[in-house]
């Protein structure tokens, strides 16, 4: 491993100042489960690593019935699924957090880090998109907000500019008539990168039809995808197997996967249909169970 320097600022200002000062030569360290591997293998470079885990805002985990979830960017995945209220309110996110690597990875890896690593196959990003999450970013020129679905721009790349730091993720408050699910396909049962993944969030109206839906996909395009057409199709429809299957078919239109050792184009597109259908059914079952 090439040597690098290390800083552990305790405020956002200190962190953004360091990021601005070092530019591309700095890398943020949250859980380390991606960045340390990348530095070790020479896939990314750093002259200084900036550990953000001492900054209070970045390790926040607050759930408020009115404002929803405030999730610090370096809060580890295990906090998400081990906090019962959070897991119950945002099941897709809990599903994702619970399958990133194994327990040892989940103890360290963060949802924010998963987002900033910006892998097309990231497990938590579809869940963030499905829940319409907002990313709060701080930088030298102040703060800004970006929708989770707009955060990634290309494999490994995102909207963060020089000196900017992802601080928190905000997920809207939820009600009893909505729920979500994330499922990915992997060849084993754990420890694999997603061949394809889908997150579905649905909200039922008073008459039992779908009032709102958001479907998002991982590993089937250069960035995680919001399946707009499939999501809009479901609005006003009954939550039936047929409609879920149809949504799955429509979701395939935003999938443009590649052939690689994890799957062929044809196989991945097939999986989109299967996973969207299954996550919609799971989300529905969760609403019915809790309601």
């Amino acid at each position: 491993m090439k040597p690098f320097d290390y800083a552990s600022p305790s405020t956002i200002q200190e962190a953004t100042a360091l990021l601005e000062q070092h530019g591309d030569n700095a890398k943020v360290l949250a859980g380390g489960t991606d960045i340390i591997v990348q530095l070790r293998e020479g896939l990314r470079d750093a002259e200084i690593v900036i550990d953000v885990k001492k900054i209070p805002e970045l390790t926040a985990l607050d759930l408020c019935s009115e404002n929803g979830l405030t999730l610090g960017a370096s809060t580890p995945c295990c906090d998400v699924y081990e906090t019962p209220d959070v897991a119950a309110a945002y099941p897709a996110l809990a599903d994702s957090a619970h399958i990133v690597g194994g327990w040892q990875i989940q103890s360290r890896a963060s949802v924010g880090g998963n987002l900033c690593n910006s892998s097309p196959a990231a497990d938590t990003i579809p869940s963030l998109i499905a829940h319409n999450a907002t990313c709060l970013i701080e930088g030298p020129s102040g703060s800004r907000e970006v929708a989770a679905q707009d955060f990634c721009t290309a494999p490994g790349r995102n909207v963060l500019e020089a000196g900017e730091l992802l601080v928190t993720l905000k997920l809207p408050a939820v009600s009893d008539s909505e729920s979500s699910a994330y499922e990915r396909f992997i060849p084993r049962n754990e420890m694999d990168i997603a061949v394809a993944g889908a997150a579905s969030w649905i909200k039922l109206g008073d008459e039992g039809n779908i009032a709102a839906a958001r479907i998002a996909l991982s590993a089937v395009a250069a960035t995680p995808q919001f399946a707009q057409e499939a999501s809009e199709f479901l609005v006003g429809k009954a939550p039936t197997e047929e409609n879920f299957a149809q949504a799955g078919e429509l979701a395939k239109s935003v999938a443009s996967p590649i052939d690689d050792m994890r799957g062929t184009v044809e196989y991945r597109v097939n999986l989109v249909g299967v996973l969207v259908k299954r996550t919609l059914a799971t989300a529905l079952a969760r609403i019915q169970k809790d309601g």
């Binding site: 690098f4 380390g32 194994g102 040892q104 990875i105 103890s107 360290r108």
Partner: protein, 160 residues
């Protein structure tokens, strides 16, 4: 060129200080600086669990933690599981149940299993398999490990 940092931490309940460069992992520090070679390197990228230690109460892959990150933290390794020279139930059950063959994955399994059982002593087979999926074993086929963890949970519950 980065200089070595001075780190003060607690390992297996004892205060420890060491020097390390920022790019050295906790696993390297434990093994090369502190002589605690119980934690093993199997892959160095978080895919096998042979380097599992407990960091502030949670099991982590120490190959993916920097040595400098444990300033002020509490680290528990396999060397701290036994109580002086009395084996912990999880260690006893692994031995009695023949839940190891070559033994290289055993430290990682013991640390992770102990953490699991302290959180969830009644863990059923599925929960055990789910939580320990990050620990690879190539020798045993896992059967006896699962049984040893179940037995250890029962034994720990008895003594409480």
């Amino acid at each position: 060129m980065a200089n070595k940092r001075h780190v003060s931490t607690t390992i297996n309940g004892e205060p420890k200080e060491f020097l390390c460069a920022p790019h050295e992992s906790l696993l390297e520090v434990l093994r090369d600086n502190l002589g605690l070679t119980g934690s093993k390197e199997g892959c160095n990228n978080g895919n096998c669990g042979a380097c599992t230690v407990i960091l502030n109460g949670r099991p982590v892959d120490s190959c993916l933690v920097l040595g400098v990150e444990v300033e002020g933290a509490e680290v528990e390794t396999v060397e701290g599981i036994a109580d002086r020279n009395e084996l912990h139930p999880v260690q006893e059950c692994f031995l009695e149940g023949a839940a190891l063959q070559c033994g290289i994955c055993t430290p990682g399994f013991l640390v992770a299993s102990k953490a699991l059982l302290e959180k969830n002593p009644d863990a059923c087979e599925h929960t055990i398999r789910y939580n320990l999926a990050g620990n690879l074993c190539r020798c045993t086929g896992y059967d006896k490990i699962v049984r040893a963890v179940q037995d250890a949970g029962a034994r720990m519950a008895e003594s409480n």
